[in-house]
Amino acid sequence: MDGPAGARTCDDSGVDVTAEPSLPPGAVPARTPRGALRRPERGRWCAGVASGVSAHLGLPLPAVRVGFVVLTLLGGVGVMLYGFWWLTVPAGDPWRAAADTRPSALSRVARRPAESGERASRRWPVTDIAVGLLLVAIAVLLAALRQDRLDAGWVLPMLVVLAGAALAWSQLDEVARGRLRSRAGGRTPLPVVRLLGGVVLAGVGVLLLVGQATGPGVDAATFAQSVVASLAVLAGVAVVVAPWWLRLWRALADERAARARESERADIAAHLHDSVLQTLALIRARADDPAEVARMARAQERELREWLYDDRPAPGTSLAAALRAVVAEVEDSRSGPGGEPVAVDAVVVGDRVPDEATAALLQATREALVNAVVHGRPPVSLYLEVGTDEVEVFVKDRGDGFDVDAIGADRFGVRESIMGRVRRRGGTATVTSRDGQGTEVHLSMPFAATPPVAAEPGEPVTEEER
């Protein structure tokens, strides 16, 4: 695709090719990208053709409007052009359409979510209705003026034909809208119904017209014969056109699928760019500091893992997620005795909604983890199990251990922040330390009146203080 960004979307109109400002072939699209040829919802006076053209060609909007008026004075060319574009140019945001045609691999960050204003702006099409009413009024006026020469027999079939055509044509607009919808998954058969209805209406109208033209003298057999003949011709045309139409339809579906894949790739690329690539650059810059490099690699691994394998639960609904956050915080902020980063091997069984008791348990767990990382020796293991009536936490390290009974007043951390915290909430805390086997902190917190994970979060917790 060597043309400017907008070229692909508007070749269906076949008009803009001549109107395009001459860019050298293969030129890089201009720094300020042009909008695609679309009829924007905002800032339109009538059908948005003028503002769409001005956005597409980069011309000032008043100039385009004046141009249309001038062209209208030159034998009505302006009106015809306006009508033609109204019919052929889909409604939409020119800038977004231009961005959509851009290969999404080139867009750096993940796309912004669709602005909520778009839905709000889809109000009643007041101008459309006003224009329609105006046209009807003119028609009625003309009819009234020419009352004497008006052949009522022609009016009804013409109206039916027009209604059918309007019904069929109106889906042009709808398809553009429906594309957004079908991209989201749903596929409505409404356009098909609309098309069929339009065809039937138009057919009936044409038949009435034909009947009118041949006069009342024609007999039913001839009429039926001609109907069958015309249907046969239509069927023949359909048979000839069908393969072409099918191919077009498949190409469209393929393109849509490719676009979905591309946008997924872009999402992944954006994520990798914002996280992994940054970290790799940092690691390269700090290559002489192995501890820092290991820490960054570990943090990045954790983040990427979460992104790949986890659906992030809503905050405050998962004890497991809260525990993982605690582990991440300790891993990132604390180092072992030699300043080296320590990885915590965390295993979680079961889950529940956190409450005040588990919050205290998590705080104690954090202190135990910090203790194990700073004073113990890796590997540091963390195991949390949500049982039927209690939550248990085990924190184990391979340090030299210490004599629990000899915890003096200076080791306030263990006694107060770990054991005291849990015991005040009705739990139990034990520290086991054995020679050569490291230290293990066992915390257990019963939950009596608190709901399991399936229950409603935010329920008041009745936890007796002991």
């Binding site: 893992r305 998962s318 091997d345 079961g350 889950d351 039927t388 086997q437 293990e440």
Partner: protein, 225 residues
């Protein structure tokens, strides 16, 4: 069997290394100690099936995610090599997804370790698998407890019951999940290491053979937790 390394201590375990990342294979090869001897490598499902059949090694170190074949990854390799009764598989994965782990274990792998494991521990695990034992990482033990229900009341009463863990097996799993080595588990429960290994193998058998229909569904749903 071709022995590429000239100095191989007697009794070294021959291993075929299957992983699609050359860098990772090199790293593993370098980190394994002298008790393990890498005799072959493969980078895809088809290649792995071919190499394993040609060499019939006692142990295959197998990545869970592999390109090629029918897209089944490591589990597909194990199924395709089911005719080699003397070859055992140790799954090696960077993935934490229970789906992957359970799939490869149920296909017949004798154990599962994460790629973060260090060299000596991996060599230990390989030797253990070669001896016919099962290798459980803390995380796999956690998966087992999660899948079979950690509730204490839900215990098997007979040996033939495949859908539940016995009280002792549960205890062993819990200790492994807490980061205990087999030796430490044995010391904690006052049993021999051999007994621990028996329990772990029994759990592995249950994990592989259990018709507990929740297991697969649980693994699939685990990602959505």
């Amino acid at each position: 069997m071709t022995q590429e390394v000239p100095v191989v201590p007697a009794g070294a375990v021959d291993v075929v290394l299957v992983d699609d990342h050359h860098l990772f294979r090199t790293g593993v090869r370098a980190s394994l100690d002298a008790r393990v001897n890498v005799v072959g490598e493969a980078a895809s499902v088809d290649e792995a099936v071919h190499v394993v059949h040609a060499l019939a090694p006692p142990v295959v170190l197998l990545d869970v995610h592999l390109p090629g074949g029918d897209g089944g990854g490591g589990a597909e390799v194990i199924r395709a090599c089911a005719d080699l009764t003397s070859t055992r598989f140790l799954a090696l994965s960077v993935s934490d997804a229970a789906e992957d782990v359970v799939a490869v274990i149920r296909a017949g792998a004798r154990g599962y370790v994460t790629k973060a494991i260090d060299g000596p521990a991996l060599s230990d695990a390989v030797r253990r698998v070669a001896d016919g034992d099962a290798v459980f990482s803390p995380r796999l033990a956690g998966f087992v407890l999660d899948a079979f229900g950690a509730a204490a009341g839900d215990v098997a009463t007979g040996d033939d019951e495949l859908d539940r863990l016995s009280a002792r097996e549960r205890e062993v799993m819990r200790l492994i999940a807490r980061g205990y080595t087999y030796r430490e588990v044995a010391g904690e429960l006052f049993i021999s290491i051999k007994t621990v290994e028996t329990h772990v193998s029994a759990v592995l058998r249950k994990l592989q053979l259990s018709s507990r229909h929740e297991l697969t569904r649980w693994a699939a749903a685990r990602r959505l937790l």
